[in-house]
């Protein structure tokens, strides 16, 4: 039985190995003024393994870097995306693009991909990948919303959760919160009850001035680890540098 494993490439971009298949989440392989990973990009596009599928949660550049990802060697790779990403993906030459709305599912080589709800500044979905008794939940950068509590009821046990934790706020939009914070991510962890949880999206920076003028965020993932210790003591939190592969 192939191992379920996760390798964080950078930010919310991961390689997920499940059921002998390999999936990429929220590709981000370049930088722009005011958009920085704040950590290395562990694997470049030429060095990506053969992908069985790509999941894209929403169209924001730091989750949907199609300009860079279009250099991937096979643009017939199946893309499972939020509906708002379809047109851009096709424009970038990807030929096998499927929009998944919450609770819709697709199947690739024995792995079931189910889109799940999300809420962010723009339309977004999260995803559950399942193969047999293993399931990986991937949340790009959603807020904590009540609908997420339905995931274990509807889709069964989650083994691994990949969650944002930086509680990103947009200062000029009345300091609106657009991403769950460490405590909220721990609350969701308590609902999902995975064996393993990996925080992401915390190193992101808009640069010296952007972090002051535009965004406000918590860059310390230890807060999530501490909160999970209290709220979901059965879950092991692994804070990993980009490029480190962790097995379930």
């Amino acid at each position: 039985m192939p191992k379920t494993a996760v390798t964080r490439i950078t930010h919310s971009c991961h390689l997920i190995e499940i059921g002998g298949r390999t999936f990429l989440t929220d590709p981000w392989f370049s930088t722009r003024p005011g958009y920085y990973q704040g950590e290395p990009i562990a694997i470049g596009i030429p060095d990506l393994p053969r992908l069985d599928g790509v999941l894209i949660s929403h169209e924001h550049y730091d989750h949907c870097d199609l300009d860079a990802f279009a250099a991937y060697r096979d643009r017939a790779v199946p893309l499972f995306v939020a509906g708002t990403v379809v047109e851009a993906a096709r424009k970038h030459g990807f030929t096998n693009v499927t929009a998944l709305a919450p609770w819709q599912e697709a199947e690739v080589g024995g792995v079931t991909i189910t889109a799940t709800p999300a809420e962010h500044g723009v339309y977004e979905v999260t995803f559950v990948l399942r193969s047999g008794s293993d399931a990986v939940y991937f949340a790009g950068d959603t807020l904590l919303i009540p609908e997420l509590a339905e995931i274990p009821e509807r889709l069964g046990h989650i083994s691994v959760a990949l969650l944002p934790t930086n509680g990103l706020h947009i200062r000029p939009a009345d300091d609106m919160q657009v991403v769950m914070n460490a405590d909220e991510a721990a609350e969701l962890t308590a609902v999902l009850k995975p064996e393993l949880a990996v925080p992401h999206h915390y190193a992101f920076t808009k640069g010296f001035l952007g972090d002051r003028l535009i965004t406000r965020s918590d860059k310390n993932p230890l807060r999530y680890q501490d909160a999970v210790r209290d709220l979901a003591p059965g879950t092991s939190v692994r804070i990993v540098e980009p490029g480190i592969r962790i097995e379930l």
Binding site: P33, G34, Y36, P172, G207, F208, L209, L213, R216
Partner: protein, 268 residues
């Protein structure tokens, strides 16, 4: 004290350009660009800012200013922007905040328009460069130095000098600066295309303006900020066209503590 280094930067269509860069402190990088008043109008602030915050502030002397040589084919503000964009590449700097005063602010805007990922934010301090109907840039070349001081400062007295009393070397440098301003910025100190191009910027921007600026007035500054989608405008009281000279603590506070000011201050 800063450490000054001469760099040779290869620039397309110009060739190798010698540029003198004074560096203050170490850490988070800032590129600080002077205006027509020359590098000494920003070096005091650079030293103070670097010491206060453990950051690295780089102050280039625009070729032709301060007695330096300007290549004949380096004749425009976009040319200077390309020079500094290439310098940032050469120095392999990232997350650079570019701060510019007056013509330095115009160069800063042009650097932002290059959209280099090395530049993460810009601060325009009483910048020139755009055309705003009814709010012309004061005609520097037709003014006496006394008039320039009157228009440039909230309180000109501490800064006023009589050019005739300067030593010959300083007079020669001042004349060189004046010639360089004419070449790079022209007599109008504007580019009619700049305002329209600023709308494409997606870079965090702080626009600081001296309330008593008589060279470019406050409404001109507000128009600058309104043209840049992510710009926040901040008025600095009791200061003129060169706030980093007249009220450096205000500029330091406005940049370093910019997260503390309220969100309604955004231009849009």
């Amino acid at each position: 004290m800063g450490i000054t280094t001469q760099y040779t930067v290869d620039l397309d269509e110009v060739g190798p350009v010698e540029v003198s860069v004074a560096a203050y402190g170490s850490g988070q990088p800032f590129l600080l660009l002077h205006g027509g008043a020359g590098p000494q109008s920003v070096t005091g602030f650079a030293e103070k800012f670097a010491a206060a915050h453990d950051v690295r502030v780089l102050v280039p002397t625009h070729p032709g200013f301060g007695g330096t040589v300007r290549p004949e084919s380096l004749t425009s503000v976009p040319g200077l922007a390309a020079l500094y964009g290439a310098l940032l590449d050469q120095l392999d700097l990232t997350d650079v905040t570019v701060v510019g005063n007056s013509i330095g602010g115009w160069i800063t805007a042009e650097i932002a328009l290059l959209k280099s990922p090395r530049v993460s934010g810009i601060v325009l301090v009483d910048a020139v460069g755009i055309e705003v109907s009814g709010h012309p840039v004061a005609d520097f070349f037709s003014l006496t130095m006394d008039q320039v001081f009157e228009l440039s400062f909230h309180d000109p007295e501490p800064f006023r000098v009589d050019p005739a009393t300067l030593p010959p070397a300083a007079q020669a440098i001042a004349a060189g600066n004046r010639a360089a301003i004419a070449v790079y910025a022209g007599s109008a100190m504007t580019d009619p295309t700049l305002l329209g191009r600023l709308g494409s910027l997606e870079i965090p921007t702080l626009v600081l303006w001296g309330e008593s600026d008589g060279i470019v007035d406050v409404d001109y500054g507000r128009a600058y900020a309104a043209a840049i989608p992510m710009a926040r405008f901040q008025l600095l009281p009791g200061t003129g066209h060169s706030p980093q000279l007249e009220t450096p603590d205000q500029v330091d506070h406005a940049i370093w503590d910019s997260a503390d000011t309220d969100f309604s201050a955004f231009a849009r």
